[in-house]
């Protein structure tokens, strides 16, 4: 059943799901699973909450599918849910560098570093990700989300504006300030070769 839906567009699938076709939801899940997980991971970091929050996003999609009216693209709608879920998330206070402890490193290894890399490469990669995550965490939530959508999800300013429900000039301003802050945070690491 999933194969026949493979070539259908997202808007068709969501309508099918609302008409009680569960396989349509599964197909949508498969299409957006990595993207949403990626967004949440970039926003929260390599913590177990990343999984929970990703699940929350898809549960919200499942429950509120009938509210999708087709005024925007489905991708905009699901990303809007993901962004709001992230922005509403109250992050537990912990240092990003704690991601290098056993559980954090293991999680990063599972997510990022394939088995074929050496332990040194795995550690270097994990450390680099922790440095980047720490810099991202220094951004205010809106700047962080805008930056992730632009840099890691590849959205245009117009698309980001639609997702975040702000003007294009606001997006431009958010991204400019985010980059200035990241430059300030990361330049010292760059200078010592850790980045």
């Amino acid at each position: 059943m999933v194969k026949t839906l493979f070539h259908e567009d997202d808007e068709f699938l969501i309508k099918r799901f609302v008409s009680n076709d569960e396989s349509a939801f599964e197909e949508l899940f498969r299409r957006y699973e990595q993207k949403i997980f990626n967004l949440v991971y970039r926003y929260i970091g390599p913590y177990p909450e990343t999984e929970e929050l990703t699940q929350d996003v898809f549960i919200k999609v499942y429950k509120s599918a009938q509210t999708f009216k087709g005024k925007s693209k489905f991708s905009t709608w699901i990303y809007r849910i993901a962004v709001n879920t992230c922005l509403n998330y109250k992050k537990k206070k912990r240092l990003v560098m704690e991601s290098l402890d056993k559980s954090g490193t293991q999680l990063v290894k599972e997510l990022v570093a394939p088995d074929s890399t050496t332990p040194e490469e795995q550690f270097t990669r994990a450390r680099k990700m922790a440095i980047i995550q720490q810099a991202l965490d220094s951004l205010p939530p809106n700047q962080k989300i805008a930056f992730i959508l632009s840099k890691y999800e590849g959205f245009s300013y117009a698309e980001i504006g639609e997702i975040m429900n702000v003007s294009i000039s606001s997006v431009e301003s958010l991204l400019f300030r985010a980059k200035q802050q990241l430059k300030k945070e990361l330049t010292p690491y760059k200078e010592i070769g850790e980045l």
């Binding site: 599964e26 899940f29 498969r30 699973e33 990595q34 997980f37 990626n38 991971y41 970039r42 999984e51 990703t54 699940q55 898809f58 549960i59 499942y62 429950k63 599972e110 997510l111 990022v112 570093a113 990669r125 680099k128 980047i132 810099a135 632009s150 840099k151 890691y152 245009s156 300013y157 431009e172 991204l175 400019f176 980059k179 990241l182 430059k183 990361l186 330049t187 760059k190 980045l195």
Partner: protein
Amino acid sequence: MKCAKAKRKISMLLDGELEKNEEEKLLAHLNVCENCRKEKEALHSILTSIEPTATITAPPYLYLKVKQQIREQEVKKSLSRPLLRWLRPITVTLGVVVILFFSSLIGNFLGKRIWTGQTAPATSQEFVTTIGFDVFSDTPNASFGYIYNNLLTGGK
């Protein structure tokens, strides 16, 4: 173009969001302004460093977990409905009983306070006169008014 404006345009240039004519103006400024040129290079270097070098892979069991959570939430919801159906009237009834009980306690307390606040209770004669029951005082013996008057005055 001023440098402050150029810095903002550099950010947009690196995102590929500049219109062609704006891009030309910015590049013309970068040709003559070393500071802004260095700013562009520094920013470009940082942004390149944080390019994703590895794929963040979602765990393979995520869909199953989502379905399981949805199922659990639906079961909880369906269980709570019959529970609410009989819980609501019981809660309302209990609420009314509690309110009546405490009202009577408060009323009893206040009533005693007000009653004991009086200097002396009214005499039965005062009571009869005030209410106007003394109209029965001249009624013949064994008549209804006579009996009634006796009841009010205690036979006095």
